[in-house]
Point group: C2
Chain length 273, copies 2
Amino acid sequence: MALWLVRAMDSSQPIGVFDSGVGGLTVVRALIERLPGESILYFGDTARVPYGVKSVATVTSYAVQMAQFLLDRRVKLLIIACNTIAAVAAQAIAALSDTPVLDVIAAGASAAVRATRGGRIGVIGTLTTINSGAYEQALRREREDLFVSSQACPLLVPLVEEGWLTHEVTRQVAAEYLAPVLAQGIDTLILGCTHYPLLQPLIGCVAGPGVALVDSAETVARQALRLLADRGLGCAGGKPRYEFYVTDVPLRFRAIGEQFLGRPFDHVQVVPW
Amino acid sequence: MALWLVRAMDSSQPIGVFDSGVGGLTVVRALIERLPGESILYFGDTARVPYGVKSVATVTSYAVQMAQFLLDRRVKLLIIACNTIAAVAAQAIAALSDTPVLDVIAAGASAAVRATRGGRIGVIGTLTTINSGAYEQALRREREDLFVSSQACPLLVPLVEEGWLTHEVTRQVAAEYLAPVLAQGIDTLILGCTHYPLLQPLIGCVAGPGVALVDSAETVARQALRLLADRGLGCAGGKPRYEFYVTDVPLRFRAIGEQFLGRPFDHVQVVPW
């Protein structure tokens, strides 16, 4: 038992990151850049992706299964890298263990509150994320007097996966989704889905120079750095290992995944759920 | 054993229809219209949809699980109402039992061969369906000298699910996907995904009046009628029952499902896989 407790606090243990698919690799990319000594286990539910329109019960059930898989491999920190999971299952994940949990919604809300000048914030995300109201709640926990305007953008994920990152059709779709949000005079826009950062140049054009775009991958990596330092669990030296678990290797997996990760894949293992 | 054999041939047993989600309800709709006395069990894997980019192994594993669920409920005929499943898992499904199996690809290929005047056929579908080459093989089995041009159209399913059936963006996307197929001078176009019939007016405009559109839902219903009659298993009288099993009730499920089914849903039961 004593041995277990000592091992549970071992700074050489990996960070666990999980997502409905490959979008959460943007978080892995930010972690590799900011915490280059840390080992990372990534889990992407590529067989059952997307989560963005599934019911709360199903998202929670699948997310708990992934989190438990990573906890069983004794990660020292869990990062929910999927906005939809963070929106509806963050409490269920936190209740699984004493392992600290960070998530992209809490991180994105913090970053937006720091970024806004006039307190008028827009949020875009999947249907399930927007319907949950999780961003609005997280934003108001940080600051009560904010104006928040939210919009679900179901077509943006398929457009990213099709690789139409700068296509005229994508610009039209983004303009149509963003019109009601921009009409509210927002000064900050949260990219509330891990696929959206790949559309950052296009969304920036549509939103215009007066709107700051917030991507939570960077923020959650900074939060991880601080949390591990505070608990004496940071690992700066040594050679980190990166392992990627997925439930399927779908078509275009490598091409799309490496776009999010920003480097070639190694050590991809399939867990056939 | 004798009792089981008698029961196995009972014409009052339902027809089993399954699909990756709600698209296969177009087949149920055609069956209800053409075989109004038949009871139907439908299974849609709404938690794990879409199948269109998953690997062959994962599609096969999920499809076999659904087919077995229906076989355990003693259906007299199985209909694979999903082009992706038909493309990669039809043999695995047929090998499960002696129950006859029909599928939308064989049906669509037959209908296209009857429809074509000049022997030049286009096929559109999901990535996995098109990559499999299943339509080309089915077409050439029917007639060797056909010219076939195929094109994956990954964005059309999300556009249908967003309800943008007549949207200018959808027209542009369809025009871009169809351009290389239409450039081949096809006279017949197979709508090789159960979502596409909802875009039939728009695709018809893009393809022009010289191209016949083939939707396999009608054809597979006609094949079912003939097969059941040939085997003395047709059920013309009595009050049919319709039961719908799904693995999740996602957002917009009822609205989208009823669009495919063409009538309100009853008796929807969730099987949480």
